[in-house]
C-alpha cells in the first residue's frame, strides 16, 4: 500500500518538467545546503543516533564500527 502510494507519487511527479532556466531557485544555497547533511555532518548525525537508539537512522541501515550497534 505504502509502496504503491510512493510509486503513484513518482509517476505523477515524473510528468512535471522544470526546464534548466527555471531552476534558479532550486539551485539556491538555502535549497541545496540542508541542515547537517553535508559530507561529515550527515555521517556524524547517523552515528550519534545509532549510538543512542536501537533503531537507527532512516536514511541508511546502520552498521558496526564503534562497537555500539551490538
Amino acid at each position: 500500500m505504502r509502496g504503491g502510494a510512493l510509486l503513484a507519487l513518482l509517476l505523477a511527479s515524473a510528468c512535471v518538467t522544470v526546464q534548466p532556466w527555471q531552476r534558479e531557485e532550486q539551485a539556491r544555497r538555502a535549497m541545496t545546503q540542508r541542515f547537517g547533511e553535508e559530507r561529515q555532518a550527515g555521517k556524524y548525525r547517523a552515528k550519534i543516533l545509532e549510538t543512542k537508539a536501537g533503531g537507527g537512522s532512516a536514511w541508511g541501515v546502520p552498521g558496526g564500527g564503534c562497537g555500539c550497534s551490538q
Binding site: L6, L10, T17, G54
Partner: protein
C-alpha cells in the same frame, strides 16, 4: 585534529593553490571537529577530514579520515541502566576510520550517470569493521529526476579483552551484513522538490555485546535476587528503512525542508523520525539553518529491563527499549574568503545540537550537548 587528517587537508589545499578564484569548483577539502558530552559522563571528540577531487573525464575521487576519542567516566555508576562488566570506573579509547571512494562518469547523450565503489575500514582496540559499497547515481528526465542506489557488504570482528565467564568460547566473534538502498529526488516545480527512498539489510552473526549484562531474578521467596547474565540476542536481524521529504523555496533566500523517516526490524523495533529545518541566506556569504528532529521508538520483542527468569533471549541494552528524543539544532556557515561554492572559497561552519533522550522502560533521561566547528576550502 589528528595529524593524518591535517595532512590530507594541507595536501589538498596545496595541490589546488594555483587555481584561479571564481572558476567553477571541482573539489572541496574540509576539516571538522565534533564534540559530544552528556550528563552520564560520556564525552566523545570526533575529528575528521574529507577531500573530494574531480578528475579528468568527470570522475571523482573521495577520501575521508575520522578519529573518535571516547571517554566514559560515569557520574552515577550505580544507577546506570545497562550493567557492564569491569570496574565501572571509566574508559578511554580511540577509533580510527578511513574511507576511500571512486566515482566514474558513465553519462550518455541523454542522461548523466555515475557508478562508483567505496571501501571503509574502522579500527578500535576491541573492534574491527570493514565494508565495501557499490553505488549508482544518475539523472533522468532532463535532470528533473535524480536516482541514487547502493549495495554494501560489511564484516565486523569483535575481540573483547574482558568478558563474562559465561561467555568463554564465544569471543572473539564476528558478524556480517548486507544492505541495499535506493533514493529518488524529483522536481515538482521551480520552487519545490520531493525525495523518497527505501533501504533494507540483514545482519548475521554475533549481535550481542560482550560487555553488557542482562539482569535476571534468581532464587526463591526471600532469597530471590537479581544477578547479571551474559546477553543473548538473536543471530539474525533484518532492517528496513524508508523516508519521504519535501523541500520548498519560500522566497527572500529562505527554504523549508520537511522529512519523515521510518524504521522497522525483525526484532520488532519500530521507529519514526519527523524532521523540520528552515534555512536562511543572510546576504551572499552567510547561511543560517534552524532544525528540529523528533525520534520515537518501540521496544524489541525480547527486551526487558529486568528478567523474571533466565530466558533464551535476553538483553541489557536500554536502546532496545521504548524511547524518544527531541533534538533542536542550529548551524551557521560563513564564507570568509571568495564566493560561496566557487573555487577559492574558504568557509567556516559552526553548529550546535541539544538532545534530550528518554528511555521510557527504565525512566532515565540523557541530556547531551553537541557543538561542532569546521573549515572547508572549495577548489
Amino acid at each position: 585534529m589528528p595529524r593524518a587528517g591535517w595532512l590530507i587537508v594541507v595536501v589538498a589545499l596545496g595541490a589546488c593553490a594555483h587555481r584561479r578564484p571564481r572558476a567553477p569548483a571541482d573539489g572541496v577539502a574540509d576539516a571538522r571537529v565534533f564534540y559530544y558530552r552528556d550528563n552520564e559522563g560520556l564525552q566523545v571528540v570526533t575529528s575528521g577530514a574529507h577531500v573530494e577531487q574531480a578528475l579528468p573525464h568527470g570522475d571523482t575521487l573521495q577520501v575521508s579520515y575520522v578519529m573518535d576519542h571516547v571517554e566514559i567516566h560515569p557520574v552515577d555508576a550505580v544507577s546506570r541502566a545497562s550493567a557492564q562488566i569491569g570496574d565501572g570506573l571509566g574508559l578511554d579509547k580511540n577509533r580510527y576510520e578511513l574511507t576511500a571512494g571512486y566515482l566514474a562518469d558513465v553519462s550518455g547523450a541523454r542522461a548523466t550517470a555515475h557508478v562508483g565503489a567505496r571501501a571503509r575500514v574502522s579500527i578500535e582496540p576491541d573492534y574491527l569493521s570493514a565494508s565495501g559499497e557499490l553505488r549508482y547515481a544518475g539523472e533522468l528526465n532532463r535532470g528533473n529526476t535524480a536516482i541514487a542506489a547502493s549495495v554494501t557488504y560489511g564484516h565486523d570482528r569483535i575481540d573483547p579483552k574482558l568478558f563474562h565467564p559465561d561467555d568463554a568460547g564465544r569471543w572473539p566473534a564476528a558478524h556480517d551484513r548486507v544492505t541495499a538502498t535506493i533514493a529518488v529526488r524529483q522536481l515538482l516545480g521551480a520552487r519545490t522538490d520531493v525525495s523518497f527512498g527505501v533501504g533494507g539489510g540483514v545482519q548475521l552473526g554475533a549481535l550481542q555485546s560482550p560487555y553488557r549484562r542482562a539482569s535476571v531474578l534468581e532464587g526463591f521467596g526471600a532469597f530471590a535476587s537479581y544477578h547479571d547474565h551474559a546477553e543473548r540476542h538473536p543471530g539474525t536481524r533484518g532492517r528496513f528503512t524508508g523516508f519521504l521529504g519535501v523541500s520548498r523555496y519560500l522566497g527572500r533566500g529562505a527554504a523549508l525542508h520537511l522529512r519523515l523517516g521510518g524504521y522497522a526490524d525483525t526484532w520488532r523495533v519500530l521507529a519514526l523520525t519527523p524532521e523540520v529545518a528552515v534555512v536562511f541566506e543572510l546576504g551572499r556569504r552567510v547561511l543560517l539553518s534552524l532544525g528540529y528532529r523528533y525520534y520515537v521508538q518501540s521496544s524489541a520483542s525480547f527486551y526487558q529491563p529486568k528478567y523474571a527468569s533466565l530466558t533464551a533471549l535476553r538483553s541489557g541494552d536500554r536502546r532496545l527499549g521504548a524511547l524518544d528524543e527531541h533534538v533542536p539544532g542550529v548551524e551557521l556557515r560563513w564564507t570568509i574568503v571568495g564566493e560561496p561554492a566557487r573555487a577559492g572559497a574558504l568557509e567556516v561552519v559552526a553548529s550546535y545540537q541539544l538532545s534530550r533522550l528518554r528511555y521510557w522502560r527504565i525512566d532515565t533521561a540523557v541530556l547531551s550537548h553537541q557543538p561542532s566547528l569546521g573549515l572547508a576550502f572549495v577548489h
